[in-house]
């Protein structure tokens, strides 16, 4: 008969070892038998949609979620097929992804990096999501992208415009369809020169965070290259709501253009304040005073109301585009939800389809195989003309839209009009200029 010698120290040791094992994230342990993280073994595959469901970008997040739900419906063979009908790749058959029914889970980023990482982690560890996508902020995108790299899943970014997402913070497991600050500057500058001349003095108000800096730098570089002078660049706190004390001194500076490097609520408030101060009614240096908003979104334009009229900006996509892909998406989304999709909805829908297509072409859900299928992938029919997923930085290169606030909108969605479709060649840059290293793909196993 054996005798068990139970000592206090022994029990504590055993408990500690067992506890460590139990507490260790399943992300690092549960995959040991699989080839890669969350390898789908049943008849379905789970995608993780990580969008802002609460907080200031909740409306944008809701539109992203609508787009994802539409994409899932189309991938599973429902609805009218949407962009699958116009997509140049014909790998998707409407039978899920590789024959597995597409299911999804959602997370709430709250537009906070820590909350977004927590929700992404939960979807990967608890729900078995094989891919994470979505978001409305560059800070969130960079944070979630890093998490997905560590976890060994693919991250298909949602709305993120900072150069850093596919620049200094790029990762091998992360991919961005949305355009970036550099492209906005490169697309806007010639239009601004044509409309306002090359002898202008610009005053920048810049949101005091990463996206603001990269946007200011991009617009400054592009406009200074065509002859504009930057008389001042002032950083404004992200939490600022009343911009009067920043806008009032603009006219005293001798500037005749105000560039608002703001997004979301910041942009709505700063533009509203600038128009209130009557800046656009003023004549400075014998020129009409002008305002520029480098990045527009429909929801921002809606929030700013009539103040956007006649103001130039850039956007990734717009529902009024007349190519077959855009028309198919607007028809599909509009029929289902009763209103046209936003650019956030478009980029998220396209990202979901691009991921599914890459899996089909790779013949595997392995993130490294998917990444390889996406790298250097050229496609068309998704609403932005011919597009390249550049292998060097996982950034999509496609036409960029320059838009202007519409003078006579016919509805609450008809707020912007397309002024110019800037060709890809004009917004393409060397992949090395923003630094960073992709590193190696991580399958997570």
């Amino acid at each position: 008969m054996s005798k068990m010698n139970l000592t206090r120290r022994g029990v504590l040791k055993t408990g500690a070892i067992a506890g460590t094992g139990v507490a260790a994230p399943t992300i690092f342990t549960a995959q040991s038998a699989a080839a890669f993280t969350n390898e789908p073994t049943g008849s379905s595959v789970t995608l993780g949609f990580n969008v802002p469901q609460t907080g200031p970008y909740a409306d944008e997040g809701a539109d992203e979620l609508r787009a994802y739900e539409l994409a899932v419906e189309h991938l599973n063979g429902g609805g009218d097929g949407g962009l699958m009908n116009t997509f140049s790749s014909k790998a998707l058959q409407g039978n899920g992804i590789m024959g597995k029914k597409v299911e999804y889970v959602t997370g709430d980023t709250q537009t906070k990096s820590d909350a977004a990482r927590a929700s992404a982690r939960s979807m990967i560890e608890k729900d078995g999501a094989v891919m994470i996508t979505g978001g409305s902020s560059s800070g969130v995108a960079v944070a979630v992208q890093a998490l997905c790299q560590e976890a060994g899943v693919i991250f298909m970014a949602g709305l993120t415009h900072s150069n850093d997402t596919t620049g200094k913070d790029k990762k091998a497991n992360g991919f961005r369809h949305f355009f970036n600050s550099y492209m906005s500057g490169a697309a806007l500058a010639p239009i601004l020169a044509n409309n306002y001349g090359t002898d202008r003095k610009a005053y920048h108000l810049t949101a005091d965070y990463n996206w603001g800096y990269t946007t200011e730098e991009a617009v400054r570089t592009s406009t200074e290259a065509m002859g504009w002078e930057t008389v001042a660049a002032v950083k404004t706190p992200l939490t600022q709501t009343d911009f009067s004390s920043y806008i009032a001194p603009v006219l005293q500076s001798g500037a005749d253009v105000l560039v608002l490097n703001h997004y979301g609520g910041n942009m709505v408030n700063s533009l509203t304040n600038a128009v209130q101060f009557g800046l656009r009614d003023k004549l400075v240096n014998n020129k009409n005073f002008e305002i520029v908003v480098p990045l527009y979104s429909r929801l921002m334009a809606k929030g700013a109301g009539a103040n956007v009229k006649g103001i130039f900006g850039s956007t990734n996509w717009h529902w009024s585009l007349q190519d077959e892909g855009s028309k198919a998406f607007v028809q599909s989304f509009g029929t289902k939800y009763g209103f046209p999709p936003s650019q956030a909805a478009h980029t998220c829908y396209v990202q979901a389809l691009l991921y599914a297509d890459a899996v089909e072409r790779a013949g595997s859900f392995n993130p490294c195989a998917v990444a390889e299928a996406l790298e250097g992938f050229e496609f068309d029919g998704m609403g932005n003309g011919k597009t390249l997923y550049r292998a060097e930085d996982h950034q999509c290169f496609k036409d960029v839209l320059v838009v202007k606030g519409k003078e006579n909108p016919t509805s609450e969605f008809d707020l912007l009009e397309i002024v110019e479709v800037t060709p890809t060649s004009q917004v393409t840059y060397d992949a090395s200029i923003f630094g960073g290293e992709l590193g190696s793909c991580n399958p997570g196993a």
């Binding site: 609460t54 907080g55 200031p56 970008y57 909740a58 409306d59 001042a232 002032v234 950083k235 404004t236 706190p237 939490t239 709501t241 009343d242 009067s244 004390s245 920043y246 009032a248 001194p249 006219l251 005293q252 500076s253 609520g265 709505v268 408030n269 509203t272 304040n273 209130q276 101060f277 009557g278 009614d281 003023k282 400075v284 929801l299 809606k302 929030g303 700013a304 109301g305 009539a306 103040n307 529902w319 009024s320 607007v330 028809q331 509009g334 029929t335 209103f339 046209p340 016919t410 509805s411 969605f413 008809d414």
Partner: protein, 343 residues
């Protein structure tokens, strides 16, 4: 010189909002002894009273315009407000255009009712509880209220413009002999400042020159003695809560053309308003108003490019820096009285 005048003007309208919210906070604290963290939410609800009235005035029926197409290529459905049907195009459009000023009349009874319901329904149960409990329950209430607003109105800001007659700006510089365009100031912000001055004057006059106000002031000084005289001070204090809610609500109504209202705007003002109350002196109405304007003006100066070039980031901390200095040198705030919140 022009820059200084400009920033003082900026500070005055910013200070107007701080002063109005802080005035309501101080009224509630002075009468009921409650630290009301839901006060910012009342400011936000006031703003949404303007949004609501604006939507009521633009209630429409749909007319199909065969000459235009919608985004799906179908004949465009155009909304025609009933106001235009009932009063004609120009009069109807004018009524809709004046939605924000008209909202003042709409907001006063609504905000008083909300204030009274809030006080009777929830806050009265926390009179004898520690301030920490009051802060927790009112902060929780603020979050509930903003989530309700978000549920019904969405998270996106809703443009609520001023009447067309008040759009644009006034050239103070030209009037004062400076170069044109050096000191410009929006008409609506001038109106906001004047409106705040009238409301603050009305509250002080109400407390100073009416019997009701006299009883309230007596109750604020010595609640027990007033009750021993057979006066139902609780009922008067409840009404004061309603009046404080209306003051915050009116501040919110008139603020809507300055910044498009959103569900979070109350929280944006809440912390700053508490700093204003503390700097002004807990329980001191003149202190709250003076501190509101003082901090508004200092905040404007701290945002100047020239100041930020020397002290980067000062704009983000100026209010808290001033609060620290005031509390170190005058622990009871600018006009605080001995014994208030010192037990």
């Amino acid at each position: 010189m022009e820059a200084i005048v400009l920033q003082i003007l900026n500070g005055l309208d910013k200070g107007s909002a701080y002063a109005l919210i802080a005035l309501g906070l101080t009224l509630i604290f002075g009468t009921l002894g409650v630290v009301n963290f839901a006060h910012g939410a009342l400011f936000m609800i006031g703003a949404f009273c303007a949004v609501t009235l604006s939507r009521i005035l633009t209630l429409s029926h749909t007319v199909v315009d065969e000459t235009q197409k919608d985004f799906l290529g179908n004949p465009l459905k155009v909304d025609v407000p009933y106001m235009m049907d009932w009063f004609g195009e120009s009069t109807g459009a004018a009524i809709i255009d004046w939605a924000v000023p008209l909202s003042i009349l709409f907001a006063i009874p609504v905000m008083i009712a909300i204030g009274v319901i809030m006080e009777r329904g929830l806050i009265k149960h926390f009179y004898k509880r520690p301030h920490a409990d009051q802060i927790l329950v009112t902060f929780g209430l603020a979050i509930v209220l903003q989530e309700i607003i978000k549920y019904y109105y969405g998270a996106n800001p809703i443009p609520t413009p001023a009447p067309a007659a008040f759009k644009g700006s006034f050239d103070f510089g030209a009037m004062m002999g400076f170069d044109p365009n050096t000191i410009i100031y929006p008409y609506w912000r001038i109106i906001y400042f004047a409106f705040a001055a009238v409301i603050i004057g009305a509250v002080f006059a109400f407390l100073q020159f009416t019997t009701f106000g006299m009883v309230v002031r007596a109750g604020m000084a010595d609640r027990e003695t007033v009750q021993l005289l057979g006066i139902n001070i609780d009922r008067r204090f409840t009404l004061m809560f309603g009046i404080a809610a209306a003051v915050a609500g009116l501040a919110g109504v008139m603020y809507t053309p300055i910044n498009s209202p959103n569900y979070h705007m109350g929280m944006d003002f809440l912390v700053l308003s508490f700093v204003v109350v503390v700097v002004g002196g807990m329980g001191s109405l003149p202190g709250a108003v003076a501190a509101g304007f003082l901090l508004g003006i200092l905040e404007s100066f701290a945002s100047m490019r020239e100041v930020l070039a020397v002290l980067p980031g000062l704009n983000q901390i100026i209010i808290y820096l001033v609060a620290i200095i005031i509390l170190l040198t005058r622990p009871r705030g600018l006009m605080g009285r001995k014994g208030v919140m010192e037990d």
